[in-house]
Structures are given as C-alpha cells and as structure tokens.
Symmetry: C2
Subunit: 197 residues, 2 copies
C-alpha cells in the first residue's frame, strides 16, 4: 500500500484536528487545496495567519475583536444594565444573529469543571465583578450541561447577594420540536416553566 506524499499527509493530519472533521473529510479538503488555484490557497493560509495576529480579546467583555474595546462594548446604544454571561466568544454571535438582544456580554472563557481541574479562579469572573453594580440584570447563558448549570448556580449565588437581578435562559420545547421526540428532562422543565396564555 502506498501512502500520500508527505506534504499531503501532513495537511490531512492538520485538517483532522478540526472539530467534526474525520479522516475522509480531511482527505477531500486536502485534495481541494491541491486542485485549487495558488491564489486561493494563498488566501486560505493568509486568512489563518491573519486571524491569529489581528484578533485579540476585548479587555471589557472577553469577546473577540480587532480593536479594544470591542464594538459591542463601545456601542453607546447598548443597554449597560443588562449583561449576558456566556461560556465562549462564539456564543456571543448566537445571540447577535438573533438580532434583538441590546445588552452587553461577558465571556467566562469556560465553565467550572472539577474533573478537568477548572475552578472559579480559572474563569473570567473577577472582571465581571468589576462590571456589575446594583440594579442591573445578569442573564446566565451557560450551556445546558451539568458544568454549565453548576457554573450558573455558582454565579447566581455570588451575584444575588450583590443586589443584582440574576436570570437564566428558559428551558423547554425547542420551536418546531415534536413532543414525541423530546427527552423526559426537557419535558419536565417545559411543564415546570409553563406560562399562562
């Protein structure tokens, strides 16, 4: 059996490091690069380098940006009394795509996970303490996982002592979801959180 030339093998192995990209997809991607015009692969390599040199973390919210503070934190039209707390910078864009959230964000940079050795001290919580003042609302938008819930509980406890309104995203049936396929835990949350028509 003959294997790919070294440089192709190396590119395939780089592509398999991406989340959700298996060996077969990586091979297709490597051949796509091979068969593309030089100009196009230059653009790809340049884009990879650019993203690493140009992007920094906003000193205020911890989101990604090309200039500090980011354009969300420096937008005067945003509601400074409403902060949505997320795990990762990518989560900010899930809210932004929705197009109606007018508050600010704060990126924790992870969640409390004792098994991975990540405690509250490893998260971006101190800078959040500096941003929070009485009368504002914090929306805890960590993921709906055990670690996400633990982190939300922990933050809820800290901040509710500071006279801050702390909320958590609603749990329930996703829009378009079919009851037949909804798991029990979600259905239980949907009943607990039922609203009056």
């Amino acid at each position: 059996m003959s294997s790919y030339p070294d440089s192709v093998e190396r590119l395939i192995s780089e592509f398999t490091k991406f989340p959700g990209i298996g060996k077969k997809s990586a091979q297709r991607m490597a051949f796509h690069v091979l068969m593309s015009k030089n100009e196009q692969s230059d653009h790809l390599a340049q884009a990879v380098m650019d993203v690493k040199t140009k992007i920094l973390l906003c000193s205020c919210c911890g989101g990604i940006t090309e200039k500090d503070p980011c354009h969300i934190c420096s937008d005067p039209k945003r509601d400074k009394n409403l902060i949505c707390i997320v795990e990762d910078p990518a989560d900010i864009y899930s809210f932004e795509r929705m197009g109606i959230f007018r508050g600010l964000y704060h990126v924790l940079g992870g969640v409390i996970s004792p098994l991975d050795g990540i405690g509250p001290d490893n998260l971006n919580i101190n800078s959040l303490l500096n941003r929070v003042h009485e009368g504002m609302e914090l929306i805890l938008a960590t993921n709906s996982s055990i670690e996400g819930d633990t982190t939300a509980l922990y933050l809820g406890k800290i901040f509710s002592e500071k006279g801050v309104k702390v909320t958590r995203l609603a749990r329930g049936i996703p829009v378009g979801g079919d009851l037949e396929y909804i798991d029990e835990a979600t259905l239980q949350r949907a009943i607990e959180g039922r609203t009056q028509l």
Copy 2:
C-alpha cells in the same frame, strides 16, 4: 445584529469553499483556529503552502507526487502491463488503500462532459496512448456516472482497436449492502453480472 470581526469573517468564507463544509462547520473551524495555539495555526498555514509548492503531477501517470516520476511509476515491482485508468489523482489512493493492486495508474484529469465543454482533447489521453502497447490490460475505473460511463466507452473503443485488453470495474451489490435498499439500476447490473458458484 453584529457580525464577526473582518478577519474571522474572511477565514469563515475561505472554509466554506471546501466541499461538504457549510456555514456552521466553517464557523466552528474558524473558532477552532482562533482558540488554538499560534504554533498549531502556523503548522496549518505552512501545510497549506507546502502542499502547493512541493506537489507536482507525475509526468508518467499524472498522479500527485513530490518527485517525478512518482514512486508508483518508478517501482520496479509493479506490473507494467496493467494500467488502471482513473479520473482524479485522489482515486489512486482508493486503490492503494486496498493494498493488493500491483499495476500502474493513469489519471485522465476529468471525464468527457459536453455540457461542461470537456471533450477527449481536454483529457490526459495522448500520454496514455504512448504508454499502451499490445498485450497489456487497461482497467477503466472512471466513476459510475453518465460521464464516467461515456468516457469509459470512448476509451474502450480506442484501445480495443490497438490489441489491448480493456476491462471495466464490476457493478453490483456493495459488500454489506442490504437488498431492501439497493436501487433498481444496481440490482439490474448485479443480475446481469451474476457469477457461478
């Protein structure tokens, strides 16, 4: 709605050019690059550049290689009287993974496709004519599409006039295939090509 920083947007758009990579996957990949160590993204960019500078097409078979002729064409243990004709360089590695094919390859660089303006003159057929001599066998391994079949028919006609044995890959039920889910065309080919036990 706020969009990604420019450099991130650009990287996402580069990733969406890959086959099978949609907007969501490209976003995940871009954030993976962002969150990876500088060293790792350097490796990726370098691997993309390397593959374009180091890889050339073998002057004999048209496959990809780092030195010409490729190690398959220059392997003295390979059977020079058996050439497997494929559409693309990537197809060679499907046969090589099998590990038992001991002949040589020839890459057409496409298939006859009048709708796309690709005729026999656009394919790597002349160099194949120079490699072929009486008494050898050509295996036509173009894809099982209309264009692949047309190309195989065309080549079969040319080469059977030259005293060459021309064969085509067998069509039938894939190993592990369930009869319930096999399409009619495949089943018809499987019956036509049935073998005696």
